[in-house]
């Protein structure tokens, strides 16, 4: 059962100002009766009065009570009580005084109301379902000769859908007073924050962790009660120098676990420490709807987003943020090219992901079908290792290096060359590379022949690492050496220097 209160426009200016002053009382009236109420603009409120019959009596008694309450606050209101929100709202908009409609008689009660009331109805519609181009539709209905909601309700559904599309079937439902969605109660914006003034300034992070825990625990409890999670965590530290050290942590998933939030805050402060001692700590949380997780009994559990967030933060603090993530293949012919993407903390079930992936990506092998064939893997040297290569008849016959762990030896078997080049069209980096090449030429002229290759390698590899947009131009060989290992080596065609690029493993 729903009750709707509508404040009609004031007849004169004085009354209007009076009503304006007391406009905020709508919430107060609604809250007095039920926590489940929804505002529709400034002048219309729908209250869920289910269950009030045991307290106040019949629906008419509830309506009378509401009207009296509004009058006692100096407000003139139309009150309608009906079994559906839509019927209550339309009746409150259309009829002055108190209107009570018994359950099941909404359509009859709405039938004589002029169709123009729908204009007012949609002006106050705040929900997701707002019939777009409603003005146009109403004009069309008028042109069709429809005068009342009863006329609209009587239209055949199939014909309306044929003319207006799927939304066409909603119009007769509205005209009959049927609800299209449940009531969405309005809740006050609640702030989740806490502040603690310290008697003595804190300098280290360890004592600060206790303060953070003390602040976060009640906030976490409140978040849990409201079924909310933290989307953003603000840590604001007032320093003894009267400055503010504010940190903002955007959390990958809504979370409210105290230990996780505290750890993330501490790790962030460890990476960005305050410049002086702290004498006040404030925490502000931007809430977001809580995360609903449905675990399955038939799959192994994943690490929770909280665990993964903490892990990624810890690993980032230990290794560096750029040293971890999920690898990704890039659309490039550059040997060894890859990209790093942030590791997702939420992973869906494999079933749903796998179906779509399988159809899209045929590269992923079906493991049930393969038996003993493995895909050949490489181990990349991010910095190619300078090598000395003896070439006979255009083929490498001996590969050695200064590296102690790489003995090298005679070439037992080889395949190649495979020429690969790219990014040569990038003139800027090309000119930079030519500078490097000239530097290498100088080095070559100064150094002994044995050292030439190594220095070549240093320059080239360092330069290659600094920017991934450098042009490359090389001949690759796969060689099997007498030491038993198989390598991918290449010769840079600009410098004629040889490098070990990868180990076949």
């Amino acid at each position: 059962m729903y009750a709707c209160l509508y404040r009609p426009p004031a007849p004169d200016q004085r009354s209007a100002s009076l009503s304006g002053e007391r406009g905020g009382d709508w919430d107060a009236i609604a809250r007095d009766y039920s926590p489940r109420y929804e505002r529709h603009g400034d002048d219309l409120v729908t209250i869920d009065v289910a269950g009030l019959d045991r307290l106040l009596g019949s629906p008419r008694a509830i309506g009378e009570e509401l009207r009296r309450d509004a009058a006692s606050r100096g407000m003139r209101a139309h009150v309608a009580v009906a079994a559906t929100q839509t019927a209550a709202r339309l009746l409150a908009l259309a009829r002055p005084g108190l209107t009570v409609v018994p359950r099941g008689e909404e359509a009859e009660a709405l039938a004589p109301i002029p169709i123009g009331i729908l204009q007012q109805y949609f002006e106050r519609q705040t929900s997701d379902f707002k019939l777009q181009t409603s003005d146009f539709r109403l004009q069309t209905f008028t042109k069709w000769g429809l005068r009342t909601l009863g006329d609209l309700a009587a239209l055949p559904k199939a014909d309306l859908v044929a003319r207006f599309g799927p939304s066409g079937c909603q119009w007769p439902k509205i005209a009959r007073g049927e609800d299209r969605r449940p009531l969405v109660p309005a809740l006050e914006e609640e702030r989740f924050d806490g502040t603690l003034e310290l008697e003595w300034p804190i300098e280290g992070l360890e004592p600060l962790s206790f303060v953070l825990t003390r602040l976060l625990e009640p906030l976490s409890t409140r978040l849990e009660r409201r079924d909310r999670g933290a989307a953003v965590l603000h840590v604001i530290l007032r320093l003894t120098t009267k400055e503010e050290h504010a940190r903002r942590l955007e959390l990958p998933t809504p979370m409210r676990d105290v230990r996780t939030l505290r750890t993330l805050a501490l790790l962030d402060l460890e990476a960005h420490p305050p410049s002086a001692a702290v004498d006040r700590v404030a925490i502000v949380i931007d809430p977001t709807p809580g995360r609903i997780v449905q675990h399955t009994l038939f799959a192994r559990p994943h690490p929770t987003p909280e665990q993964l967030s903490t892990l990624v933060a810890r690993l980032g603090a230990l290794m560096g943020q750029d040293r971890l993530g999920a690898p990704a293949v890039v659309d490039s012919y550059r040997p060894g090219a890859f990209a790093m993407t942030p590791f997702k903390t939420e992973h869906g079930s494999q079933k749903s992901e796998g179906r779509s992936q399988k159809s899209e990506d045929s590269v992923c092998p079906d493991f049930r079908l393969q038996t003993s064939n493995l895909s050949q893997a490489l181990r990349r040297c991010r910095q190619p290792v300078p090598a000395r290569v003896v070439v006979t008849d255009g083929r490498p016959v001996r590969v050695t290096s200064d590296r102690r762990t790489f003995a090298g030896g005679a070439v037992v078997g080889c395949a190649g060359p495979w020429r690969s080049s790219g990014s040569w069209w990038k003139s800027e980096v090309r000119s930079q590379k030519s500078e490097v090449t000239s530097q290498k030429s100088e080095v070559r002229s100064r150094e002994t022949p044995a050292a030439q290759t190594s220095d070549f390698g240093l320059l080239t590899s360092d330069f290659r690492l600094q920017t991934s947009d450098l042009p490359w131009n090389r001949d690759e060989w796969d060689v099997s050496l007498s030491d038993g290992a198989v390598y991918r080596i290449f010769q840079d065609r600009d410098t004629d220097a040889w490098f070990i690029d990868a180990v076949v493993d």
């Binding site: 192994r300 079930s349 493991f367 895909s375 990349r380 038993g484």
Partner: protein
């Protein structure tokens, strides 16, 4: 008498002392916690030899010299795990993962947490790798194990020089063993020689296949075509496992270039 023996075994198992015995109390099968299960390679012959795969909750090893197929095998293990929907982590101590190889092996890269060790500024084939980078990688591995619920956690130190491994405190591996114990995670150490297998884990030795059936050497397992390098003919065998019956069964495998 049988009752007394059963009671003794139960008491030892409750205190987790059964795994310290020379022989398994559970019989001839691999020391697998039935609740934890196994991590299969999805290679029928190898899984059959291993009794289903690498045991979870244990530290196992994939060892072998350079070009012995250990990386291909590791990527296959990761691919099989991600195909089952598990999350996997790779602590790449020397930052040598080839992402294209991983993708070609079928690893779902979105489910792979890749932790890259710090590359030594001076170029070198691990010669100048400092100890700090190695210790950092071990700590990263410990953090991942502590987080829990990863299907596979692989620590790749295959190209690390033996001195760097030896310089790590002896308790390092013991600590990792303790961390993984009782969890549903299979921890895999990739290296050149066995160093750290836990009591219930397996050590798989990889090598090139020889014509006479022996492991490794020279070029016999390396297949070159007329123009292309075609792949490696490798084989693996379990060299250390408490459940092994002493048979030296080699599982032949083949790698193929994509």
């Amino acid at each position: 008498m049988p009752l007394a023996r059963a009671a003794l075994e139960a008491a030892l198992r409750a205190r987790q002392l059964d795994r310290t015995l020379t022989t398994s109390l559970t019989g001839t099968g691999p020391a697998v916690d039935p609740e934890r299960g196994l991590s299969p390679f999805s290679i029928a012959a190898l899984d059959a030899r291993l009794g289903g795969g690498l045991p979870r909750g244990q530290l196992s090893e994939l060892v072998g010299p350079r070009s012995s197929g250990r990386t291909s095998l590791l990527l296959r293990l990761l691919a099989a795990a991600t195909a089952r929907g598990e999350l996997v982590a790779l602590v790449d101590a020397l930052d040598m993962l080839d992402v294209e190889s991983a993708a070609a092996a079928g690893v779902d890269l979105a489910r792979l947490l890749w932790i890259r060790g710090h590359v030594v500024p001076n170029p070198g084939f691990c010669r100048d790798m400092n100890q700090r980078a190695m210790e950092q990688a071990v700590r990263a591995c410990a953090l991942v194990l502590q987080a829990g619920n990863f299907g596979i956690v692989a620590f790749d130190a295959a190209e690390a020089p033996a001195e760097a491994i030896r310089r790590l405190p002896f308790t390092t591996w013991l600590r990792l063993q303790r961390m993984v114990e009782g969890t549903p995670t299979t921890c895999v150490l990739v290296g050149t020689a066995p160093v750290a297998r836990s009591a219930g884990g397996l050590t798989l030795q990889c090598g090139l296949r020889n014509a006479d059936g022996g492991l490794r050497v020279q070029d016999r397992g390396v297949r070159f075509g007329a123009r292309l390098f075609e792949g490696l003919a490798i084989e693996t065998r379990v060299v250390r496992a408490r459940a092994q019956g002493g048979d030296d069964v080699r599982v032949p495998l083949q790698t193929t270039c994509a």
